[in-house]
Homo-oligomer: 191 residues x 2
DNA sequence: GTCTATATAATGATAGAC
DNA sequence: GTCTATCATTATATAGAC
């Protein structure tokens, strides 16, 4: 089998399992079963479990970049772009109810483990924050664009956490509506 | 040594370690070292690791009840009582920056592990929600007391998550101010 | 009630055949 | 590049002496 293909499969499976079960709870055995590769061959592609984590985070960073770039090109205004961000709560609703936010839960776990890759994972949050902050600054809110971006990130995180704990479908929709309503006043000062 | 005393010491140590490192990452060895009791004797008090978790959650439920009852008796108005809740973010700021919210992170971990005790841990959230909901209903917001309580819970969770990831002292203060400001309009409709 | 010694299973990781 | 066999370590958990 092609080297890079197997490597990609491993990263894929690890990404899913880390999200669904957490990093520490996921074992090499579980990943190798899913990829249908023996545990031994595994170490040809990754020398340590941390190396897989590094690759998974790198992958998520790239995916986030791609998604933000898409929103940037597709959204016709900063307001619409920010609404794209808010709506991922709806798009990924089922997974969020089951496993929480992939960014937030990975970061929380790595912070508790005081894991060397925690700074690496934090970068995913920083990506979202920089992008959101940029959108808000375009809404003539330069003075508090950072704060508004952090505020929106925090609310999304809280919604994802409670949604996974209470497992309530309507709750996410209700809070997403509330987020859209919160955003509206900021959009009026644009033109 | 007294039976119940050792038992209490074990629950205490486990409570701290589960908070600081997570449930799964914490081993019997670590707990026994902290309590200064041999691993063997450990099983005299708790038969399985899950039994310790059950005891820890039970302990947290009791502590939460006590705290909410105190706020109930000390706060002179529903508004002041809700502000007591908001201010735990300030009171526990250092720990939250290091380890996140003890309620949220435990629940998130148990959800990912699909652990049998997850329903048990969820009850801690339910306690806070019921109490907050009660306060809001006293502010003549019966129609949306539940929603306001969930909203406040979610924002607290999001703040705790981001505070632990970004490790920024001023951020918590800033968002707490924002929470107090958010609450104010609801308090005017009281008398 | 506390200890030491031990059983058992799973983990991350390595060596070497093919 | 993939495999089987194996190692060292750690984990939860048990048995039995004191």
């Amino acid at each position: 089998m092609n080297k890079n293909l197997t490597r990609e499969k491993i990263i894929n499976a690890a990404d899913d399992l880390f999200y669904q079960q957490g990093f520490e709870h996921t074992s090499f055995s579980q990943i190798s079963v899913q990829v249908k590769v023996s545990r031994g061959n595994f170490y040809y592609h990754f020398k340590t479990k941390n190396d897989i984590l590094t690759a998974v985070i790198e992958r998520r960073l790239k995916n986030t970049s791609t998604m933000l770039a898409q929103w940037q090109s597709q959204g016709q205004s900063p307001t619409e772009r920010i609404r794209s961000f808010i709506n991922i709560l709806i798009l990924n609703r089922e997974k969020i109810q089951k496993f929480g936010c992939p960014v937030g839960t990975l970061n929380s776990e790595l912070v508790k483990l005081n894991h060397p890759s925690k700074e690496n994972a934090k970068e995913i949050f920083t990506q979202f924050h920089a992008w959101l902050s940029h959108q808000f600054s375009q809404l003539k809110h330069n003075h508090d664009a950072d704060i508004l971006a952090m505020h929106l990130l925090a609310r999304s995180q809280g919604i994802a956490t409670l949604a996974s704990v209470f497992n309530d479908k309507n709750y996410i929709k209700q809070e997403v509506d509330s987020l859209h309503a919160w955003l509206t006043p900021y959009t009026n000062s644009l033109y």
